[in-house]
Symmetry: C2
DNA sequence: CATGTCAATTTACACCGTGTCAAGCAAAGG
DNA sequence: CCTTTGCTTGACACGGTGTAAATTGACATG
C-alpha cells in the first residue's frame, strides 16, 4: 500500500477529471495529468495502458461518483411515456455538462483511435437504450406520432439528446442550460407525440 | 508554367479532395496527399503553408466547382419564408454529403489548431447568415412561431442543419438522405412556424 | 549562348505527444 | 534480511507536422 491514504489510481482519475473539466477537453496530455496527480508520466502507464483507456475509465469514474444511475431512476418509474420523456431529457440533458470535458476528449480521439471509438459507441448505446425505453412507453400509451416508425423515433430522440446538439446550442449559440432543456423538450414533444395529445 | 497542362496547385487540391472524399476524412496525411498528387510531400508546402490552410482551401475549391452559390439561389428567390426554408434545407442538406469528408478533417483539427477553428467558424457563419435570412422572411410574413425569439429561431435552424446532426442521423443512425431531408424539414416546420400555418 | 528565375526535388532535421524499456530507489512485510 | 511493490529517472522509438539547405531542370530574356 502507498503511504498516502488515497490510492494512486484514484488520484490519476481525479486529476484527469479535473483537468478535462476545466475547459479544453482536448489539449490535455498524459504529462499534464501526471503532473496534476503529483506523479511521473510513466507511473500513469503503470495504471492505464493508454490514453484512450484512461479517458474511458475517467468517464466510468465520473458516472460512479455522480451516480448517473440514481439520476435516471425517475425516468424509469414514470407513470406514462410522456412523463418518461420529460424525466429522461431532464436527467440526461443536465448530466451532459458534467461530463462534457471528458466526452470532448474521447470524441476527439474517436476519429483516429479505434479503442476510443468502441468505448464511445458503448457509451452511446447505453443512452440509446434509454431512448428506446421511452419510445416504447410512448408506443404502449398510443401517444407516439404515427408519422415515425419506432426506430425512427428512437433515432430522433437520440439525436436531440446527443452531446453534439448540446454543444451546438450551449457552446456555439450560447444558450443557457435551462433554455436548452426546455427547447429540446419542446421539440421532442412536437416531433414524437401524436397530434391529439 | 509547368510542363503538364494542369498546374500543381490544382492537382494537390484535387488529390486532397479525392482522398478526403473516399471515407476516412481524418487519417489523411500530408504525405498521402502528396503521393496522390504525384509530387513530394515538401512540394505541397510550397503551395500551402499548413495542413489547416490546405484543408480550408480544399473546401473553397469544392465550393467553386460544385457551385454552391447557384444551388442556394432558389432559396433566396423564394416567394415567402416558408418556401425559403424548404429550399434552404434542401439545398444545404444535400450539399453536406458532398463536403462531408473534408469537413470531417477540419472539424477534427478544430480542437487543436486555432487556424482551423477560425476557418471553420467562417464557414459556419456563412451558413448562419442563410438561416438568418430565412427566419427574417418568416418574421416578415408573420409565420414565425411566437414561442421563439428571432435569435433563438436562427439558432434552432442552424443546429438542425449542422453537419453534426446530419452525421448523427445519416452515419450513426443509417438514415437514407431523403429521409434526413424530409425529417429535418418536418422538425423545422413544427418548431419554427406559428401554429395556424 | 549565357544567365537568372522559378518550381520541384532530395535529404536532413527539429518538435511534440504517445508509448516502451531498463535500471534504480524506498518502504512495507514476510 | 531479502523480496516484492510502487514509483522514479532517463533514454528512446515512432509517427506526423513543419522548416531549412543544397540541387536539378525547364524556361525566358538578355
Amino acid at each position: 500500500m502507498s503511504s498516502d491514504g488515497i490510492d494512486t489510481r484514484s488520484k490519476i482519475l481525479d486529476a484527469a477529471w479535473k483537468l478535462l473539466e476545466e475547459g479544453k477537453g482536448n489539449g490535455v496530455r498524459m504529462s499534464d495529468i501526471a503532473k496534476a496527480a503529483g506523479i511521473s508520466r510513466q507511473a500513469v502507464y503503470l495504471h492505464f495502458p493508454s490514453r484512450a483507456e484512461l479517458l474511458t475509465e475517467t468517464t466510468r469514474h465520473i458516472d460512479r461518483t455522480k451516480n448517473i444511475e440514481a439520476r435516471l431512476l425517475p425516468s424509469r418509474t414514470a407513470r406514462n411515456g410522456r412523463e418518461r420523456i420529460n424525466a429522461f431529457v431532464e436527467a440526461w440533458g443536465n448530466y451532459i455538462p458534467e461530463i462534457y470535458g471528458v466526452v470532448q476528449a474521447i470524441l476527439a480521439m474517436k476519429d483516429t483511435d479505434p479503442e476510443a471509438a468502441t468505448a464511445w459507441a458503448d457509451r452511446m448505446r447505453a443512452l440509446r437504450e434509454g431512448c428506446e425505453s421511452a419510445i416504447r412507453d410512448l408506443k404502449r400509451d398510443g401517444t407516439l406520432t404515427p408519422s415515425l416508425t419506432e426506430k425512427e423515433a428512437v433515432d430522433m430522440l437520440w439525436t436531440l439528446l446527443s452531446v453534439r446538439t448540446w454543444e451546438h446550442l450551449r457552446i456555439d449559440c450560447g444558450w443557457p442550460q435551462k433554455r436548452y432543456i426546455a427547447e429540446i423538450l419542446s421539440i421532442a414533444r412536437k416531433t414524437l407525440l401524436a397530434r391529439w395529445t
